[in-house]
């Protein structure tokens, strides 16, 4: 079974991002290997959102073993330092492309 990479660009509280988070959980429940890349406004999901703030969102994915990558460019643009994220990895554009085109990976997005 191939890996699934979900690219998310929408604001964390938008229906679009919430749907992508939900899909990531369902795919994970189906025992698929799921990774998530956060781009544009979606990077805001990786700052300041503890599980208490967002019980259905990103914060529940990391502890379940979903890899979360955050676009460094879009984080710093918005005034957040790459080291502010718990459980997620900040990545540059080159690394995002590497993730997208990796063998055995199906990339879907942007949500």
């Amino acid at each position: 079974m191939s890996k699934v990479l979900l690219m998310i660009a929408s604001s964390p509280r938008s229906m679009e991002a919430q749907r992508a988070f939900h899909l990531a959980r369902t795919l994970h429940t189906q025992r698929r290997t799921v990774s998530v890349v956060l781009l544009q406004d979606a990077v805001l999901a990786a700052v300041g959102n503890g599980p208490a703030q967002d019980p259905d969102g990103l914060a529940m994915l990391v502890p379940r073993g979903v890899s979360v990558y955050v676009c460094e460019h879009d984080l710093t643009l918005r005034g957040f330092a790459p080291d502010m994220i718990g459980g997620a990895q900040s990545v540059n554009d080159q690394r995002i492309v590497d993730l997208m085109v990796a063998d055995d990976t199906r990339t879907f997005g942007c949500f």
Partner: protein, 123 residues
């Protein structure tokens, strides 16, 4: 298994997005095995009885229904349109109000259709 998929997430008319998705779905169905998933506000695309009147819009749910009927009449055509049950329920929409030819799918089935898609366009 390796099909092309289009995701519909937005309500018709308010944004162009659903109409654009439908235009691409119809074109795709003529060229390859195509699946569509209607979820979140995208489920409203399949609501029957839309009345564009003299607004200039085409009737999007009728266009979807016709595409499905045309495809059933053509043995070479492979088109499936799945409507997410959870999104219908959240919106208090009875499946009976949907145009004919669409299929219901739960969370699990939606995730499976997506994961099985080789490529997906998102609207």
């Amino acid at each position: 298994m390796d099909s092309f998929c289009i995701l519909f997430r937005k309500a018709p008319y308010g944004t162009i997005v659903a109409a654009e998705g439908l235009r691409h779905l119809i074109a795709a169905a003529g060229m390859m095995a195509a699946r569509a998933i209607l979820l979140d506000d995208g489920v409203y695309l399949a609501k029957r009885g839309q009345e564009p009147g003299d607004s200039g819009w085409i009737n999007l749910s009728q266009t979807l229904e016709k595409a499905l009927a045309d495809c059933r009449a053509d043995p070479s055509c492979q088109l499936h349109v799945y409507v997410h049950e959870g999104s219908l329920k959240e919106r208090n929409l009875d499946p009976a109000v949907l145009v004919s030819g669409v299929e219901l799918a739960d969370d699990d089935q939606v995730a499976t259709v997506i994961a099985e898609a080789r490529r997906m366009l998102i609207f």
